[in-house]
């Protein structure tokens, strides 16, 4: 087939990008080469619209072993142990085919982690759906949950935390972000940088089929009404093969045979071979006839662009082929030497003894397009004036019922009960808390992880929203008694070609950067997903932040369930009554405008660190951060989980009671302390100039808010737990 501009455009390349290719090659590419360019130069693989801005994120720190640029980030958790982690999106495929889309998202992120030599020890996910009333929502939710469970459960990796939200902006574009943490010894981390000449390049795992061809290009385009036609671009997952691949790779990694290893994810054999060679400043030669194929008559084009799952590419030490083959034979996996490293600095492909492609690797990687896209700065919206008469008409109990049973607050047990969250025998904090926590097997340490996003805040003011998510992630780790170490981000946005959406991206990234820098909470890995839009309608900007922290002694872990009657609950951080952009404003006042709550990074840091100090001294019996829904939601959850009540002290607060209970001011926590420790706790808080007040005293049952308002624990439970199972039944 003769390649021309039209064919290039059909491959998702822009006209000037095609011209650049011809110019760089000094000739017209053939179809296989064009396929390779389209795979390497699409948004998903090249980060062409985002690279310029991502460079500004803080990525270094004392605990950072590996920042962005590898398969995943790596942090030091002391004693020679390290945690490898990353979050990644699988949005487009999940909308087209929810089960396989979500499943292969989970499979892909686990491969990124074990490629580096780490055994996956925890999965998390952040999933976002359209309005519950939208006709597709229920099936998409069911399919995605089954897919995530289907893959993670079979792999035997616990899913320990997650986040689910519903918003009509996702009606035509759901989001599925999957995150994995793996454990590795610091001196046994594997990288993707090839080294040495004439080293054998081996292919292991599943055979290559025609599935997923152009998956990465599909993920770099907007949806339209022909979306169903894209189904064949969705990959099909086989978690059983991946489990075998995991065990086989770890077995091989225990020895010293591997020079470099890279999983075949987006853009399959193309990107894995090019990345390894590029990082090693080498060339690579591949004989495509040697690639194990499961379908007949596959062309070089198809072999190079297939996104069949559960495959790895490895550069081996010379003479280790037999050792490696034995291991993969034992696990019944394909093994083939398909090529070698060269000094040509080209990727050279052969098929039926003919050269079918030859491209200088630097053209594909360093010369890939980078755009400084136009973007529009957002203004901070004006505050709404909410009249006291409006608030005074509301009954606390009615509002609490509506807020607690709202789809974005209510219990997600229906979801996480379908995920195996206890396999591996180290899960010490299950889903439903502030963070999931797993022990570092065989030690006293534990690792905490959470995943957060606040699309509404980001939509109202991206800069503040970006900061807020990082702060919330930090608080979620603090609330379980973990020292926050680093984050991974999954940046889900609309089209970068639209100034508004690009502006949302730029300013969210700026906010994330500012907060992570201030909190010393660097970004070590991540992924960008643009074009989350159907026709002209884009999603609300939805960066997801996955935070990871360390608990040095797991017996000191904190959970949110109230522990003991007669203990006191303190509010840490000041309640100013910020109602704009709160869940309360949206669902009770039907008010969608106004600024999100301000994020004061000094307070975040000070409050968080002081709580860790209190935790360390053993004063904190339970803790929970105050976030979506506000104070009353936070205390309700603590009551529900602990099966205890609370009697509120008479409020000395000057702001309206409703504002006090439902405001979403940032930097706040609830902590439970023993009466006898109160003096010492207060002293520490005062010394650090931390605003704190007593909320009330823990009782056997009933939440007694004031003389007029009493809610039983059973009522709270029914508000909190019923919505999702009822909706799904």
């Amino acid at each position: 087939m003769e390649v021309n501009e039209q064919i290039a455009i059909e491959h998702g390349l822009k006209s000037d990008e095609y011209k650049k290719i011809c110019q760089l090659l000094k000739r017209t590419p053939n179809i296989t080469e064009l396929g390779i360019f389209s795979a390497m130069w699409n948004e998903h693989c090249s980060y062409k619209s985002s690279r310029l801005h991502l460079k500004k994120l803080p990525t270094k720190g004392k605990k950072v072993i590996q920042g962005p640029g590898e398969n995943a980030g790596v942090i030091d958790i002391e004693d020679g142990d390290a945690i490898v982690f990353k979050i990644e999106s699988h949005n487009h495929p999940s909308f087209i085919e929810p089960y396989q889309g979500a499943a292969t998202g989970v499979g892909g992120i686990m491969r990124d982690v074990f490629t580096m030599g780490a055994r996956p020890i925890a999965n998390l996910n952040s999933i976002h759906f359209g309005s519950p009333q939208h006709k597709k929502t229920k099936n998409l939710l069911r399919g995605v949950v089954h897919g995530i469970g289907g893959y993670g459960n079979c792999m035997g990796v616990p899913t320990i935390a997650g986040q689910t939200s519903f918003d009509s902006s996702y009606n035509g574009n759901i989001l599925v972000n999957a995150m994995t943490l793996g454990l590795v010894k610091k001196n046994k981390i594997f990288y993707s940088k090839a080294a040495g000449l004439n080293k054998p390049v081996i292919y292991v795992g599943s055979k290559t089929g025609r599935d997923g061809i152009h998956g990465a290009s599909m993920a770099s385009a907007s949806f339209d009404e022909k979306i169903e036609e894209k189904k064949p671009t969705v990959q099909v997952g086989d978690p059983f093969t991946e489990k075998l691949l995991l065990e086989a790779c770890l077995e091989l990694m225990a020895g010293d045979s591997i020079i470099a290893i890279q999983d075949m994810g987006a853009a399959g054999l193309t990107s894995s071979s090019i990345e390894m060679a590029s990082k090693g400043n080498l060339g690579i030669e591949i004989d495509l006839n040697k690639v194990p194929c499961r379908e007949t008559k596959m062309t070089p084009y198809e072999i190079m662009l297939s996104e069949s799952q559960e495959r790895m590419l490895i550069v081996l030490e010379n003479g280790k082929e037999e050792t490696a083959k034995k291991i993969f034979d034992k696990w019944n996996l394909d093994f083939a030497v398909i090529g070698k490293t060269t000094n040509s600095k080209n990727i050279e492909l052969f098929f039926n003894k003919e050269q079918v492609a030859k491209i200088p690797i630097n053209i594909l990687v360093e010369n890939s397009p980078m755009y400084d896209r136009k973007w529009k700065k957002s203004k901070l919206p004006k505050k709404n004036k909410i009249k006291n008469e409006v608030l005074n008409k509301l009954k606390i109990r009615d509002v609490l019922k509506k807020v607690l049973s709202n789809q974005n607050i209510c219990s997600k047990e229906w979801i996480w009960q379908q995920y195996d969250h206890t396999v591996m025998g180290d899960t010490i904090q299950k889903p439903g808390g502030d963070s999931g926590v797993v022990r570092v097997h065989g030690t006293n340490k534990a690792v905490a992880a959470s995943v957060d996003s606040s699309a509404v805040y980001c939509w109202a003011h991206p800069l503040t929203g970006g900061k807020q998510i990082v702060a919330e992630s930090w608080r979620n780790l603090i609330s379980v008694g973990a020292i926050p170490i680093a984050i991974t981000n999954c940046l889900n946005f609309g089209s970068p070609e639209k100034e508004e959406n690009m502006g949302e991206f730029v300013e969210c990234v700026q906010g994330i950067g500012e907060a992570s820098k201030y909190l010393n909470f660097p970004v070590v890995s991540g992924n960008v997903s643009f074009y989350n839009q159907t026709k002209e309608v884009g999603i609300k900007p939805t960066p997801s932040i996955g935070g990871v922290g360390l608990i040095k002694d797991y017996t000191k872990m904190i959970s949110m369930d109230l522990k003991e009657v007669d203990n006191l609950v303190l509010i840490i951080g000041k309640t100013e009554g910020h109602i704009d952009q709160s869940l309360f404003a949206r669902i009770i006042l039907d008010e969608k405008n106004g600024p999100p709550p301000e994020v004061n990074l000094f307070n975040e840091k000070n409050n968080g660190e002081s709580i860790l100090n209190l935790v360390d001294k053993g004063y904190v019996k339970s803790a929970h951060d105050i976030s979506l829904g506000g104070l009353l939601v936070a205390i309700s959850k603590m009551c529900i989980k602990g099966n205890k009540g609370i009697k509120f002290h008479k409020s000395k607060n000057l702001i309206n009671e409703i504002e006090y209970f439902f405001a979403e001011d940032q930097g706040r926590y609830l902590i439970e302390v023993n009466k006898e420790d109160l003096k010492e706790v207060t002293k520490i808080l005062n010394k650090n100039s931390i605003h704190h007040e007593e909320l009330g005293i823990i009782t056997q049952n009933d939440m007694i808010i004031n003389e007029k308002t009493k809610v039983t624990i059973d009522e709270l439970k029914s508000y909190y737990t019923n919505w999702l199972p009822t909706y799904m039944s």
């Binding site: 035997g156 093969t241 379908q418 206890t422 396999v423 591996m424 025998g425």
Partner: protein
């Protein structure tokens, strides 16, 4: 006391079981599915997981593994064989215990704590246990135990029902049945009571930091009974 845990391709609770058995004093060995011979063992465990990806039918391919012939011979000669979750599914496929395990009634994987009531303590697994109700943990997609009327009569007559799903007071009712199992059955024995298959995972309940400690009670008692 010597134990062996069989690892099939796709097993994923093999390590957890190894940890649990060692914690309570077993000298445990991991045995590869493709081996011919079982090492000398006082107890053989078929662990949970997704052997052969649950393809064809859960447990069916594993039941034909090379090592399984030795396991079957060991069981037939009176050796103790315990199958947990996928291990139970494998046992059913070998015919060592009667019945089948169908997809959960609500067609969803389910992972949570459950209570089980012991039906019969006249066996090496539960003898001398000072509790009748244990809190265990389940995590499965195909735990819906089913057998024919005749089989049910037979296993009842032979006291082969090991545990039932119940509430914390021991009430065996429909609402405490997580997966639709016939008569709330969570685990059964062979006729001789040396083979036990059950869906719940005692190995996930061996530490107060985990889901609970009733697994510890089970394992401690088991090793004492074997001694």
């Amino acid at each position: 006391m010597k134990s062996s845990v069989i690892t099939f391709p796709g097993s994923n609770c093999d390590r957890d079981m190894d940890v649990a058995l060692k914690k309570f004093g077993f000298n445990n060995k991991m045995v590869w599915h493709d081996d011919n011979e079982l090492p000398k063992s006082d107890l053989v465990v078929l662990p949970g997981g997704f052997s052969y990806g649950d393809y064809l039918r859960c447990g069916s391919m594993a039941s034909k593994s090379r090592i399984m012939q030795s396991v079957i011979n060991f069981a037939k000669s009176g050796g103790l064989v315990m199958g947990i979750c996928n291990g139970f599914q494998i046992l059913v496929e070998t015919g060592l215990v009667p019945g089948v395990l169908l997809r959960n009634k609500y067609l969803e994987f389910i992972c949570k704590n459950v209570f089980v009531k012991l039906d019969n303590k006249e066996n090496v697994y539960f003898k001398n246990l000072n509790k009748d109700i244990l809190e265990f943990h389940i995590a499965h997609n195909e735990g819906n135990y089913f057998c024919t009327k005749d089989q049910l009569k037979e296993i009842k007559d032979n006291n082969q029902i090991a545990i039932y799903y119940c509430d914390k007071e021991g009430k065996i009712e429909d609402q405490y049945n997580p997966n639709g199992s016939i008569k709330n059955i969570a685990g059964i024995f062979n006729k001789e009571k040396n083979v036990l298959g059950m869906m719940p995972h005692p190995e996930r309940m061996i530490d107060q930091s985990l889901s609970g400690e009733d697994g510890s009670i089970f394992f401690k008692n088991l090793i004492n009974n074997i001694k």
